[in-house]
Amino acid sequence: MTLSMTEETRLQPTSEAELADAVAADPGPLRIKGGGTRAIGRAAAGNTLDTSGISGVTLYDPGALTLVVKAGTPLAEVETLLAENRQRLAFEPMDHRPLLRTEGSPTIGGMVATNASGPRRIQAGACRDCLLGVRFVDGTGRVIKNGGRVMKNVTGYDLVKLLAGSHGTLGILTELSLKVLPAPQASATLIFEGRGIRDAVALLSQALTSPYEITGAAYDPQRQKAFLRIEGFAGSVTYRAGKLMELFGSFAPVLEEDPERIGAIWRGIRDVEALHDDDGDIWRISCKPGDAPAIADRIDDATLLMDWGGGLIWARLPTGTDARQALQGLGGHATLIRTADPANTTLPVFHPEPAPVARISAGLRSRFDPRGILNPGLMA
């Protein structure tokens, strides 16, 4: 383990056992860091616990579609390995760096801790759906495993899902098993120009209720452009693209078939490129897709990007504006992903939970981290 004494103490264990010992011995609080690129939520006080030293692929079995990897492993390393075998992480984890203006190398642990999922979430599921097993160290320094490396597993409670998206507040992830999927032979994207919000959400919905297996359905209100993606074997993509062009003939969509350009379009949507410039607060709103136009109407002065057929709205608002007002009576929730004024904002980062749910969340925290030392206050 290395201890560097720069601005603060930094713990950098190189194994799970070292990490467990470090946590058990530390009075806390601890600020858990993977690549440090997904800085969501109020930065916890305390010493930094850097997991990037716990790195490496433990097992990769392409024929079983499974990958077991240590939490500190750079995401890029995993993506390269999978690409060599024509496979991929189907949930399309976003790169938070440009949006959050962070630097560093995203790790697998950070991806799981934030349940980072991209446009393909509508068809392939989220990170949590592809997560088969976890190993983690709880707030007392105990090593705990849950799930495993097989596709189907209902042995005991599913702590795997609980740890995904828990932002390091229930445990420090040390090893993850993931389901991977084949990378498709071909893909195509239909681009619709000059669409208003209502029109666009309706057409995305129509596509998503077709049998043509849409793997991306997004809308950029600034450019008034809607996008639909299909992927698969070449013949199948050609067929479905044809069907969709026919179905939406009256909208005169443009068919993009160039893999490079398709890649760029969806990376842009995944990483919310439309909102990179300018300051302001960035909100991530999860809603019933059909509610998207109504929500958009209710937020004034916002720059928006819609994904998941309208079910995911990225919004840039003037600092201090409460996007949650727009959800009144509709359901869904909003997370304040980035704020220009972290010191002064009083808006909670995570959506306030109704009392019974808040009690359960607090109960879980107190069981997994009885001393309250893991990213304290980050989610509560």
């Binding site: 079995d61 024929g63 079983a64 579609l65 999922s117 979430r121 509508i122 599921g125 989220a126 949590r128 759906d129 709880d138 090593v143 495993k145 495993g148 490396r149 097989v150 596709m151 189907k152 597993n153 209902v154 042995t155 005991g156 409670y157 599913d158 702590l159 795997v160 899902k161 995904a164 998206g165 084949p182 990378a183 498709p184 998503l208 209720t209 077709s210 049998p211 698969g232 074997f233 013949g235 199948s236 067929y239 999860s286 019933k288 995911l312 359901g331 869904g332 997370t335 995570f350 939970e353 109704p354 019974p356 749910v357 359960i360 969340s361 109960g363 879980l364 069981r367 997994f368 989610m379």
Partner: protein, 480 residues
């Protein structure tokens, strides 16, 4: 099962009386001849009539029942349709069975947003039934789908033959209304896709009725594919058939189903259903979906792989009738086994690559134990279903069968798999949990139950080894 609490048994009249105060008269069953209907689930070797059974018709009634039981300190065992193969819905004599069978309404169907909201007593198949007219379906399809309820599916995180492509229950569940043991109604999720804070929905799914009673569910529905077609492939070696599965997956294909049957299973199914299966070591049924052209494109690739491994036979369904016949034997596997003998169905999961080794070792064990095994399973995801045949009327055979089953499940864990892929732990695999999990792993899971149900009244004697949960279940006795 733990011995019933005599103090509760002694208060039966009072408890039943209080239940009658919060429910209509016909919703409380306490007569001993009638409570027998709830004495077991599909793990019929274990039976015990409950103290009473209640059949509430709304979330409010469920809440009222739970408040009574909470105050009285009476254990509650939730029940859907009672098709659990793990004894998940098995009562104890001092428990109240809470059945959701009277809650089977469709509450909302929304095609534009692709979800349906139902009461959880609704059967799995009738969820699809409710949206079929619009060409939609609910993807998880356990073989018991005609009978099993969404309630049980959520509790067990059930899977089905088509989950290689569509996932299991947890991947298709968007929200629940749930009542915790103290009667509090909790709403989780909804028509949106992800959780605002902790993924509590993810932990509820698969918690075997130990964290709350789920009364309503929002489920993702999907548009039906344009078509589907199976192919049948016969091989003379288990290893080769296993290799074919692995090669199909490595080639980037993702069939909706890859089913695997071994010779004992093929013979039994053939005798029972006369599907015309070839007599061989291993049979694969692979199904793909899409339009005619898409099906042809995938089958072409699959059949090329299949041919390269020298099959005994390849059979492509030319029409719906032939497709039906390919599936007929597989779908009647359980019935066929039932005709032959009593059987125990296991569902351990293994990494697909360990398939040949595991099948070989099961065959060896079968000789050692002197009990026959037939294997039928979802090969794409490694979810095995060894069916151990035994004679329940012969003394000692059930115990022998259980011992054999335990060895198979330990083997699954040893090769990197798990005890149960879709049926759940219940009472059946409870005591094997220590083979898969260390004490700290189990403690972390039990800590979750502590949060939702601090007194451990909800389905308490399931999932965890009794010795491990003893202190939590009976804190007073433990303190003495």
């Amino acid at each position: 099962m733990p011995a019933p609490d005599p103090a509760i048994l002694a208060r039966k009249a009072q408890i039943v009386d209080r239940l009658r105060h919060v429910l209509p008269p016909d919703a409380v069953i306490s007569d001993e001849t009638e409570t027998r209907a709830y004495e077991c689930d599909a793990l019929t070797a274990y039976r015990c009539p409950p103290l009473a059974a209640v059949l509430p018709a709304s979330t409010a009634e469920v809440s009222a029942v739970l408040r009574v039981c909470h105050e009285e300190g009476v254990p509650v065992v939730p029940r859907g349709s009672g098709t659990s193969l793990a004894g998940g819905a098995l009562p104890t004599a001092d428990s109240v069975i809470l059945g959701v069978a009277r809650m089977a309404e469709v509450l909302e169907t929304d095609y534009q947003n692709r979800f349906i909201r139902v009461q959880t007593g609704r059967t799995n198949l009738s969820v699809t039934g409710a949206v079929e007219e619009e060409d939609f379906f609910y993807a998880p399809d356990p073989s018991s789908q005609l009978a099993c309820a969404i309630a049980g599916n959520i509790a067990m995180n059930s899977g089905g033959a088509h989950c290689l492509k569509y996932g299991v229950t947890t991947n298709n569940l968007l929200g629940v209304t749930m009542v915790t043991m103290d009667g509090t109604v909790v709403e989780l999720g909804g028509a949106h896709l992800d959780a605002p804070g902790y993924d509590l929905l993810g932990i509820i799914c698969g918690s075997e009725g130990q964290l709350g009673i789920v009364t309503e569910a929002t489920l993702r529905i999907l548009r039906k594919p344009e078509g589907a077609r199976p192919v049948l492939m016969a091989y003379d070696s288990l290893e080769v058939a296993g290799q074919v599965v692995s090669d199909i997956i490595k080639a980037g294909l993702l069939p909706v189903a890859i089913e695997f049957m071994d010779r004992p299973c093929i013979r039994a199914c053939e005798a029972f259903a006369k599907a015309g299966y070839p007599d061989c070591e291993a049979l694969l049924i692979v199904e793909v979906e899409g339009s005619e052209g898409e099906i042809a494109e995938q089958l072409d690739l699959i059949l090329n792989i299949a041919r390269s491994h020298e099959p005994v036979e390849l059979r492509e369904a030319q029409d719906a009738d032939e497709a039906g016949r390919i599936w007929l034997g597989r779908k009647s596997a359980f019935g066929a086994m039932g005709q032959l003998n009593d059987y125990m169905c296991l569902d351990g999961t293994i990494p697909v690559s360990a398939l040949p080794e595991v099948l070989g070792r099961i065959a060896e064990m079968s000789r050692e134990f002197g009990l026959e095994v037939a294997n039928v399973f979802h090969a794409g995801d490694g979810n095995m279903h060894p069916l151990i045949l035994f004679n329940a009327n012969e003394a000692g055979q059930l115990e022998l069968c259980e011992a054999f089953g335990a060895e198979i499940l330990k083997l699954c864990v040893e090769v990197g798999g798990c005890l149960t892929g879709e049926h759940g732990v219940g009472i059946e695999k409870r005591d094997l949990m220590t083979h898969q999990y260390a004490p700290a792993d189990l403690d972390a899971q039990m800590a979750v139950k502590d949060v939702f149900d601090p007194q451990w009244l909800l389905n308490p004697a399931k999932v965890f080894p009794l010795a491990a949960s003893q202190q939590r279940r009976t804190p007073l006795a433990a303190a003495e």
